[in-house]
């Protein structure tokens, strides 16, 4: 009996395997976010920057992510991160979950698991069936389909590295491109106006002690 139970528990995905899968999904999401923002960083003018920021907000706050996660779990039993980690989400007795249950798990279930500083997620560590609270809420289990977690780990390293390069190139573009000058040109009139208002209020003419910056990029010199 103990051997049977041990074998059954081994079928269930361990906490760290689930963390690996979630991290792959999160890093992939960040990669998409940063990729969109890289277009904004490469903008040459402020209207172009605003355009790409608009695109970013439209994509990131659209229902596409919920549809994406639900569709993957419904058709493949797992999100890409879980597929790469060799695990999948099934109902009790190994049955496929319905769309309603998947939606509930991904929304209400995750909210429930976040209680007590995410204790619902850590419940996997102590639970006999390795279920988190959102699994218990709808009767799902996360099982190991194939032991390919090294592929998941490689995928995580690859996506993480790609993310790092996209972030660095975006930052470089933003700091060295024409955008920096455009932002400076936009903000400088406000800084100058505040400076003039300050002089009027204090009745102080130009003096050696007057060290207000002429532009926002002079702030770094202070």
């Amino acid at each position: 009996m103990n051997q049977d139970n041990n074998e059954k528990v081994q079928d269930k995905a361990h906490f760290f395997l689930r963390v690996l899968a979630s991290t792959i999904d999160s890093v992939t999401l960040f990669l998409v976010m940063v990729w969109l923002l890289s277009f904004a960083a490469a903008s040459k003018t402020l209207p172009e920057l605003v355009y790409w920021l608009f695109v970013f907000v439209l994509v990131m706050y659209s229902p596409i992510w919920l549809i994406y996660a639900t569709s993957f779990i419904y058709y493949f039993g797992a999100t890409p991160g879980k597929l790469l980690s060799g695990i999948k989400i099934v109902g009790e007795n190994g049955k496929k979950l319905s769309v309603k249950r998947i939606l509930f798990r991904q929304t209400v279930g995750y909210l429930f698991s976040m209680l007590f500083l995410g204790l619902g997620y850590f419940a996997v560590l102590k639970d006999a069936k390795r279920q988190a609270w959102h699994d218990k809420a709808i009767g799902s289990e996360v099982i190991v389909v194939r032991p390919i977690w090294p592929i998941g780990l490689l995928a995580l390293i690859a996506t993480g590295t790609l993310l790092f390069f996209v972030v660095s190139s975006s930052v470089t573009n933003a700091l060295s491109g024409p955008l920096k000058g455009e932002i400076e040109k936009f903000i400088t009139p406000f800084v100058k106006e505040n400076r003039e208002n300050y002089k009027e209020d204090t009745n102080s003419p130009d003096s050696e002690e007057d060290d207000l910056p002429n532009s926002v990029y002079d702030l770094k010199q202070i």
Partner: protein, 331 residues
Amino acid sequence: MEENQQPDWTIGTLYEKAWQIVKKNKVLWILGMAVASATSSGSGNINLPGEMFQQPETTQKSTEAANVLGAAASSPFQEILNATSPLFANIPPYFYIFFGLNMLFLLVYVIVLFVVYKAWADGSLLHGIELAKEGKSVSIRESSERAFGSLKSLIWLNTIPGLVFTIVILLFFGIFAFTVLKTDGIVRLITVIASAIFMIGLLVSAILLSITQIWAPRQVVIDKKPAKKAFLDAFTITLRKFWASVLLGIVNMVLSFFLIGVPVLLFFGVFIFLGFATNGNTVIFPLTIGLIAIAMFTLIIGLSVVIAAFTSFKGTVWSLAYHAIRGKYDK
């Protein structure tokens, strides 16, 4: 409002039994935390109408102040608006439509999510309490699965009565404001007096609705009644057991104050005093701030556990009270 001669329950007995149940079944605390988090999230007020009226007033006031001081005309807000308008020149019109749809979806999503979450949390806790009362093992799995069966009715109970009541209040204030602004003399006086009476009526209705919303979910979960029937029967119970229900509610509130309110007040009192007392001391003050931060974190964790246990305890008290009057007053 009729009352039975013999009390159906005594608060002491309810509390004792409820505590035994809650102490033995810690899973109820988790479900209690879910209910508490759903209730606190949903109780935030969106003062959108107030904010919308505030801005023009602020702009007007700043313009008046500028004129009084003899300073040059335009407000900072107007300047920012003029400066930023050209930035949106590249945005095609259909982007605004998609943006509006996105925001609408987000709003609907958040509302639906919390309505479903609250209904599920309430249902799970009530089912968990029933399992515990029957001496069965309480689990999140079993409680949640049973809650799915009551979900639609609980969603109805959590939304429709409150929505109708809110519409009545808004209509009342709308009519009141319109009548007061458009009339004067004796008509306005009569309107104000009638409105005061109506507001007292609204207050009583709010109390009746609150108590009905305690009995109704138990009618759904325990007696498996459909939502509308549960609400109407619960209202009947409320009228017949009004004072006993109000007394139980008040005792719960007082207990809640001592369990939750007092520690919070004590904490803030002691640490505000410490903060002021050590202010200016460059060595002790940072240490005090650090100590306050650690204490605050500990307080939040501790209070979360207390709130979780107390919410499940309160739920159990009301469920036991319902069992004491079940079938007696809802005809």
